[in-house]
């Protein structure tokens, strides 16, 4: 099944924040806890040539998400559409996903007594109801947020860069970051200037994580278990042949002698 994807174009974003309002309404979260927020360059340049760029920012929906690999209780999952979903009935609020995510996406409800994680789930319920787009993409007045099939969005990103090389820098953020994501950004300025985290890795650390947890730990456990059993049995066998005096055994004999007395 084809996977979903976003294309977010920082050159089209006008900082109207309608996407934040849409997210708040759709997911029934307060404006302070929206799953989408703004990244910006700040005002740059000399007057009168001033510039300011913004881009809405939310979960990248990685192809091989670190958070899914890390989550203690499996509250984070990738579904068949490539959406990284979050199950708030499972989450225990351990916040490991916040450290695992290279994009600083999962947020924690610090102000609540029983606090959980907040994260974009690509309006998965809305899509299941048969609507075409998540709330933010449906609302965006300038089409800065576009939604569709992942490969279509990636192709569109490259097409725009190719057609207007002066308008964009030649970098599709999300194509290779953390092993590839489902959200692609194109921008007139380098992404560091927009305040994006810089992860230039081709592979997701989730892969290293699986190496240690799925291979490393069983290897350690297996070798310790067999090694310890083997050494114990071997030494036990040897000791039966040639009993060795130890402090403990000496003490035992002293003890038993006294008890007899």
């Amino acid at each position: 099944m084809a996977k979903y994807g976003f294309l977010i174009d920082a050159s089209r974003c006008i900082d109207c924040r309608a996407c934040l309002v849409a997210c708040s309404v759709e997911n029934n979260v307060p404006m302070t806890h929206t799953r989408i927020w703004m990244k910006e360059t700040g005002v740059t340049g000399e007057f009168p040539d001033l510039e300011r760029y913004t881009a809405p920012y939310h979960c990248m929906h990685c192809v091989d998400p670190s958070c899914v690999s890390a989550c203690t209780v499996g509250a984070l999952q990738v579904n068949k559409d490539g959406i990284v979903t979050y199950d708030n009935d499972r989450c225990i609020g351990c916040r490991y996903c916040m450290y695992a995510c290279p994009f600083e996406v999962p947020h924690f409800e610090w102000d609540k007594q029983l606090a959980l994680i907040n994260k974009c789930d690509l309006c998965v319920n809305r899509l299941e109801e048969g609507q075409a787009e998540p709330a933010c993409a449906a609302t965006c007045p300038t089409d800065a947020i576009q939604f569709g099939k992942r490969e279509d969005m990636l192709a569109l990103a490259h097409e725009r860069i190719k057609n207007e090389p002066n308008r964009y820098i030649d970098h599709v953020f999300g194509e290779h970051e953390n092993g590839g994501t489902s959200t692609f950004y194109i921008s007139p300025v380098p992404f560091e200037k927009l305040g994006f985290p810089t992860t230039h890795r081709e592979e997701s650390p989730a892969e290293f994580n699986r190496m240690t947890t799925e291979e490393g730990t069983p290897i350690i456990a297996g070798s310790v278990l067999t090694g310890m059993t083997g050494i114990y049995l071997a030494l036990e066998h040897l000791q039966k042949k040639n009993p060795v005096h130890t402090i403990e055994k000496d003490l035992e004999t002293v003890d038993s002698k006294k008890e007899k007395e």
Partner: protein, 400 residues
């Protein structure tokens, strides 16, 4: 040498040393701030934030687990490698391990956003999660430690039947406990494997799990040595110096292996240059390795240090400080501060830690006063013995 000590009656409360009351007050105060944290939420009571979601509690947990590694290290030496002359250290060490792990579980409970769902890890497994492995192994291992400690309780109540059964199956639990310990000690290191973007490259390594496992052996042995010194102060009893000496002989091997792994990892991942170019991080890294590994490696290699009680304590303190620094480094100091925001714990975070740690010491003291924990230890004659210990304590520690 005495091998039997008198165990007090439960009603005998007056002779408890004064510090137990201080510990009790600290525990109650600390736990009340903990309850306040449960009531008010993490945001209001801690300095944790979106960029620093874990703080001193996690660093404490990592350190405590490393030191509680004493229990499985010693169990392996005594029961597997048949070093039965170390047996006198088993009970005091298993008790420390049990309380150490319990304190970690308590702190983790306070650290969870949904503490009411702490049991979820039992029913919703995610097998690729290092934290899932850690929580499972710690939970099972703590149960095994209760079992390993149970002979002390049965002995206290003179239940010979239970003692005989336990003695027969102990080895199965010992091997299981060692396996689980190796798993969670290494999985704690695996926690940081996925944090590639956050951990400073000098500390980031795919074999962090192995670093944690090997260093926990050294931390465990240093805990036994330090503990044997503390018990002089607390009860006027300690381990035979021959035990300390034997443990000391193992240290250079473990530390040497750890050092080789650390340096080898830097060489193979081409990070050796970072040792000289990372500013404050270089200093931290070198400090950690120097005080925790190189200095004690030299000290424990010297016979004069292993033979002398005070000198081996100094060497053990170096190891403990270095490994504690290592755990704090990787879980706090060298995590890349995003957007320049750094973290320092709030007073509530610190007071809960003090409370829980005092609780550990308090329960340890009480259990060893009322249960036969230090049975195989030797009494240390001190010049000011009458002055330091009340008459009843002196009576309790005199053997035959």
């Amino acid at each position: 040498m005495s091998i039997k000590i008198k165990i007090r009656e439960f009603k005998d409360l007056q002779s408890l040393p004064r510090y137990t009351y201080i510990l009790a007050i600290l525990t109650i105060l600390g736990m009340s701030t903990g309850l306040y944290r449960l009531y008010a939420g993490l945001g209001a009571t801690t300095n944790l934030s979106t960029v620093f979601p874990w703080g001193i509690w996690i660093s404490f947990d990592l350190t405590m687990v490393a030191f509680s590694g004493a229990a499985f290290t010693l169990a392996a030496l005594v029961y597997i490698f048949h070093m039965h002359d170390l047996h006198s250290a088993v009970r005091p060490t298993v008790l420390f391990g049990l309380l150490g792990y319990s304190s970690v579980l308590v702190i983790l409970f306070f650290d969870l956003g949904r503490f009411d769902r702490f049991w979820h890890f039992l029913v919703y497994p995610n097998l690729t999660s290092a934290l899932f492995e850690v929580s499972w192994c710690i939970a099972i291992y703590t149960t095994i430690l209760i079992f390993e400690f149970s002979p002390v309780v049965f002995e206290r109540f003179n239940n010979k039947k239970a003692l005989a059964i336990i003695e027969k199956i102990t080895i199965i639990f010992v091997i299981g406990g060692i396996t689980l310990s190796s798993m969670h000690q290494s999985s704690l290191g695996a926690l940081f494997v996925i944090m590639l973007p956050r951990v400073h490259p000098l500390w980031y390594s795919i074999i962090t799990p192995e670093f944690f496992l090997v260093s926990s052996l050294a931390a465990g042995i240093s805990t036994i040595i330090i503990g044997s010194y503390l018990s002089i102060w607390m009860y006027g009893r300690t381990l035979d110096q021959k035990v300390i000496e034997k443990l000391g002989i193992l240290m250079p091997w473990i530390l040497g292996f750890y050092l080789l792994m650390k340096i080898g990892d830097l060489i193979f991942s081409h990070k050796l240059g970072l040792l000289f170019t990372s500013g404050i991080f270089s200093i931290l890294y070198v400090t950690e390795l120097t005080i925790g590994v190189i200095v004690p490696l030299i000290l424990f290699s010297m016979k004069s240090f292993r033979k002398d009680r005070n000198k081996s304590l100094i060497a053990a303190l170096f190891v403990a400080a270095g490994i504690a620094l290592n755990r704090f480094d990787i879980s706090w100091f060298v995590l890349k501060p995003l957007h320049g925001i750094t973290y320092f714990p709030s007073w509530i975070e610190i007071s809960l830690l003090i409370g829980v740690f005092s609780g550990v010491l308090l329960v340890y003291t009480l259990v060893s006063y009322y249960f036969p924990v230090f049975t195989e230890t030797i009494a240390i004659e001190k010049k000011q013995k009458e002055k330091t210990y009340p008459a009843k304590v002196a009576e309790a520690v005199t053997g035959d």
